[in-house]
């Protein structure tokens, strides 16, 4: 059995006494695609905040590739280790064009001087074209991102995530505001990149989660409530009570 890529162990986070994460443990294997569901406020986004270094946990460790404790590192270091993230609310660089957004995200040296002397290589150009295709933003390549509609921003952010080529992708509600067809496409996309990359995706759209067809973790009040295939967890009475409803 391979070592897990990411291992959360007993992570707790509280805000003014309110426990957003409560002794949460979770393990993601290399190449695994994992869906995480759970009620609003269960702590899914907070978990991603902890992994990416945005929020420091009160307790617990987050081990990446076996030996790196992410809780001690700053955001940019974590990102450079190969962890990319798409936010729940799409955040893109509003004054940059779609093209520039992707260029900034491309996996290249991040230093000041490499930035000063960077020149777009043929390879990079090709990769950007690919990403524009995937996100169907080719026609809007020269539009500043601030002028994109909500769904288009979602796509752009997915494109930026792919451009980073991370080992682990954290995807927070990618299909919110997408049509059913796009939802389906997104599921395909995520499935396609898993295997080479690990992916954690948070979604409330059950159709989408079903489409992914992978192991599902249910969070509730900051801890794990259930884990297993979608069918197993959706049969769980507690999950139905707190999440799915009747």
């Amino acid at each position: 059995m391979t070592d897990p890529l990411l291992y959360l162990d007993g992570v707790s986070v509280s805000f003014d006494g309110f426990k957003a994460l409560n002794n949460l443990s979770l393990m993601i294997d290399p190449g695994e695609l994992r869906a995480i569901i759970g009620p609003n406020g269960a702590g899914k986004t907070t978990m991603m905040d902890v992994i990416t270094g945005k929020t420091r946990p009160d307790h617990g460790t987050v081990m990446f590739e076996g030996n790196t404790d992410l809780t001690k590192l700053k955001e940019s270091t974590i990102a450079n280790l190969g962890i990319g993230r798409k936010f729940q609310r799409p955040t893109v660089f509003e004054h940059h064009t779609v093209l520039d957004n992707l260029e900034l995200a491309l996996k290249n040296p991040r230093g000041v001087f490499s930035g000063l002397f960077y020149k777009v290589s043929e390879e990079d150009r090709k990769r950007i074209e690919e990403l524009l295709d995937i996100t169907k933003l080719s026609p809007k390549r020269d539009v500043v991102a601030g002028g994109l509609a909500h769904g288009e921003k979602q796509w752009l952010e997915i494109g930026m995530l792919l451009a980073q080529d991370p080992k682990l992708l954290l995807v927070d509600e990618p299909v919110a505001g997408m049509t059913d067809a796009e939802t389906e496409q997104t599921a395909h996309l995520l499935r396609a990149i898993s295997g080479k990359h690990s992916v954690i995706v948070v979604e409330h759209d059950m159709v989408f989660v079903r489409e992914l067809g992978v192991k599902v973790t249910v969070l509730h009040e900051g801890s794990m409530l259930a884990e297993g295939s979608l069918d197993t967890v959706s049969a769980n009475q507690q999950v139905i009570d707190v999440y799915l409803g009747r």
């Binding site: 009620p39 609003n40 509609a149 909500h150 979602q154 409330h204």
Partner: protein
């Protein structure tokens, strides 16, 4: 009754709406459908006066409101649940709800019980800051806040986005309940087709800033509608 006729809307040089017309009636849910970026949100902005239109007219309960600022429209009974929630981040949940008191008479300034019945989580978080809520909780707050103004027109922009399934069902029930009271006209923008289909009395389907199809649910064929939602 809401009557939108032939409105145009521009963002700088780019035109987002072209001669869009639609109506919404009390006791009915009008569903606006369309792919990303076709102009649904822009249409709602035009209805609520959040972005100036460059042509056409919006009439509400018989009076033209095209030139009125949003707060005047709110005072005439219009309310919106915007895309992206837009709760007031630094104000408590309670205060967020209380912002809805502005357009209503002093005597009516209470938070209706139905808000907490629909979204019990809000009751337990009254003193938490709006901005600290989770995405879904914010969405619930945004809907609750709109209901505080006792609107006669409720405009919802993708209210199910980011909401857990059980609450989506609750919201669906809530919209159904509000519609069934018969006094409220509801305009609903949705991507979640099943949800929309179950609630809608009439459809408006948009593509590239224009209305492609419109009519009562009974008159429209689902396949036709779906065609405009696939890529």
């Amino acid at each position: 009754m809401l009557d939108v006729s032939g409105i145009d809307l521009h963002y700088g040089a780019a035109q987002a709406l072209r001669k869009v017309s639609m109506t919404a009636e009390p006791g009915k849910v009008t569903c606006v459908l369309g792919r990303n970026g076709v102009g649904k949100t822009s249409l709602l902005k035009a209805i609520m006066g959040l972005h100036p239109t460059s042509g056409g007219a919006v009439t509400w309960e018989g009076t033209p409101v095209t030139k009125l600022p949003p707060y005047e429209r709110a005072r005439r009974g219009m309310a919106i649940v915007p895309q992206g929630r837009e709760v007031f981040p630094l104000m408590s949940v309670r205060e967020n709800l209380q912002t809805g008191f502005a357009p209503i008479p002093r005597s009516a300034r209470t938070v209706p019980d139905e808000v907490f019945e629909l979204f019990p989580v809000l009751k337990s978080m009254l003193d938490r800051r709006g901005g600290d809520l989770s995405g879904g909780q914010q969405q619930q707050l945004a809907i609750g806040r709109a209901l505080v103004t006792r609107p006669r027109l409720l405009v919802l922009d993708e209210p199910t986005e980011g909401i857990q399934p059980s609450i989506i069902k609750d919201i669906g029930r809530a919209i159904g309940y509000l519609r069934d009271k018969g006094t409220m006209a509801i305009v609903l923008v949705e991507q979640y087709f099943e949800f929309a289909r179950d609630l809608a009395d009439q459809f408006v389907v948009m593509e590239r800033g224009e209305v492609m199809m419109a009519g009562a649910k009974a008159d429209l064929e689902e396949g036709e509608v779906r065609k405009f939602l696939t890529v």
